[in-house]
């Protein structure tokens, strides 16, 4: 049982804690359920799903960096039909927020995905529209880095479903505010900031990139200051809530994201290093709320800039 002091809201979605497991770092919950009761979490965001199953990228998919890692998994997933038939009920049974991450290569893909998922709205708390995966050749990040395309796809999806639409944005843009505003104008219920930063690591002996995909998504504690800055910038212009994400490894990191403007947060790469990290963070957040006699949600957007 989680302290009610951790309860938060992301728009209309009520979560018992601000902690959500980030897409791509928890699969559909089966594996981490061996380590702790996932019902302590605010939510779990499914592995990014596509219309058809994807085998993902070949060759080396991970490269460690200072304070983080690069990945180029390439959206390996069983496809949305398989997910609905085999994993949706399991996610529904976990007793935590059910966030379904939707990826695609084209507008048509996203439209088809939402058509498939909308009938299951009683088992879904929000659709996280992934406009930010850097590891596929088309769609995702290329749509998510163009404000006009973001506004257009979000408004199309908005007209198709009453499910809350959380738009997961890429940091690989010049002005995150304009992309976030485009999502808001399209009718998004929230934005999720940030997906991974595009990066590269070179093996100096072979003079080739370590990753077979050449580039990958950079994540982990190293990216947290970028994410905090983007959350803060977007919070200054948006009316819709923000879910913060990027390098969270501690309760202090969660608090920092909330002060910057996040209503909830996602823990990603931290799960890969310490699968029970969210348990420790939950305990530490409960203690913080007790010690400071506050509701965690009261922190959101309390940053005072110089």
């Amino acid at each position: 049982m989680v302290s009610s002091k951790l309860n938060v809201k992301v728009g209309s979605v009520e979560l018992k804690s601000p902690l959500i497991l980030a897409s791509g770092t928890c699969n559909f919950g089966h594996e981490l359920s061996e380590y702790y009761d996932l019902s302590i979490l605010g939510g779990l965001s499914s592995k990014g799903l596509t219309i058809k199953p994807r085998a993902g990228n070949p060759g080396v998919r991970v490269a460690e960096t200072d304070c983080g890692m690069l990945n180029s998994v390439g959206l390996q997933n069983p496809g949305v039909d398989y997910f609905i038939a085999n994993d949706l009920d399991y996610m529904d049974s976990l007793g935590t927020g059910r966030i379904i991450n939707v990826a695609g290569h084209s507008f048509e893909d996203y439209i088809a995905m939402v058509s498939k998922l909308d009938p299951y709205s009683d088992k879904i708390d929000a659709l996280e529209i992934n406009l930010s995966c850097p590891n596929v050749k088309a769609g995702c990040m290329s749509i998510g880095s163009d404000s006009s395309q973001v506004k257009e796809i979000v408004s199309i999806l908005r007209s198709m479903t009453k499910l809350p639409l959380w738009i997961k944005l890429t940091p690989n843009v010049t002005d995150i505010k304009s992309v976030a505003l485009a999502a808001q104008e399209g009718g998004a219920d929230a934005v999720v900031l940030i997906n991974t930063l595009l990066g590269m690591k070179i093996d100096i002996r072979t003079r080739r990139p370590v990753l077979h995909n050449n580039t990958g998504g950079y994540s982990g504690p190293a990216v947290k200051p970028v994410a905090i800055r983007m959350v803060s910038e977007c919070n200054s212009v948006l009316d819709i809530p923000i879910v913060g994400c990027g390098g969270i490894m501690s309760a202090e990191d969660v608090i920092e994201f909330m002060i910057a403007g996040s209503s909830a947060v996602e823990i990603g790469t931290g799960n890969l290093v310490h699968p029970t990290l969210p348990v420790k963070i939950t305990e530490d957040l409960e203690k913080y709320c007790e010690d400071n006699q506050l509701e965690l949600s009261s922190l959101t957007g309390t940053l005072q800039l110089w």
Partner: protein
């Protein structure tokens, strides 16, 4: 519900087996009690990700397990340099491990750091009623670790044991019983060759696949290898070395 845990395990003993290989014995009764040969542990170092190591031995009475650490980069150098008494964050046992029950007789083949998980399999089999033979391959005599007098030793350089590779060692075996399985851990080309050797003699072979890993528990999908797909028209499936493996039947792997 009995949840799996991350452990804080004390280094009870550290021995350097050669200039770039350490052997650590860690205190963790749960891992010692539950580990099966072919499984691995993920150990934190001072860099970001944990490092995977095949379990080399367990002492269930003492509540300890051992791993061999070959220095290949900064993380392994860091772990190989650790002092006795230090405490390491450990996840495990992980992965599926070998089937040591389904066959009457086993041939164990190791190359490189494969000597460590093969040592654990040998200890378990030698304590059972099964027949077990071990073939070890090394580059040269300076690399020999975890050797026992009863093993068939091969070196590429020919300065110890049979001159040649593991397959030359396997060729020296006589009277291979029916219902024998070959378990192989080593570099990919070696496992491919050993699997092919086994197949040509009608023997079932299991290999332990290795890939750069992050989580070790099946959530990140970075450590995949290709196996033949059961679905028609699909050339292969990407499966997770850490969770679906690391042990796979040789014939299921797409080499």
């Amino acid at each position: 519900m009995n949840y799996r845990k991350e452990y804080e395990a004390r280094v009870a003993r550290k021995v350097m087996l050669n200039a770039d290989t350490a052997y650590l014995t860690l205190e963790c009764p749960d891992i010692a009690a539950n580990a099966r040969p072919g499984q691995f542990v993920n150990i934190s170092c001072s860099y970001f990700l944990k490092r995977p190591f095949g379990i080399a031995s367990v002492d269930r009475a003492a509540g300890t397990f051992s791993v061999g650490i070959k220095i290949v980069g900064k993380g392994t150098a860091d772990l190989a340099g650790i002092a006795e008494g230090a405490v390491l964050n450990v996840l495990g046992p992980l992965g599926n491990g070998f089937d040591l029950d389904g066959f009457d007789s086993y041939i164990l083949v190791s190359g490189g750091t494969g000597v460590f998980p093969i040592n654990f399999a040998y200890e378990e089999l030698a304590a059972s009623s099964k027949t077990v033979t071990v073939v070890q391959g090394f580059r040269d005599s300076s690399q020999i670790v975890m050797n026992r007098p009863e093993y068939v030793l091969t070196t590429d350089a020919g300065d110890a044991g049979i001159h040649g590779n593991c397959c030359n060692g396997l060729d020296s075996l006589e009277d291979i019983a029916d219902n024998t399985a070959v378990l192989c851990v080593g570099p990919l080309p070696m496992m491919k060759a050993v699997g092919s050797w086994a197949q040509s003699r009608g023997l079932k072979c299991f290999v332990s696949m290795e890939q750069r890993m992050a989580c070790g528990i099946g959530i990140c999908l970075v450590c995949v290898c290709k196996v033949k797909s059961e679905q028609e028209g699909v050339p292969f499936d990407h499966v997770r070395c850490c969770k679906d493996g690391p042990v796979f039947p040789y014939e299921e792997v797409v080499w």
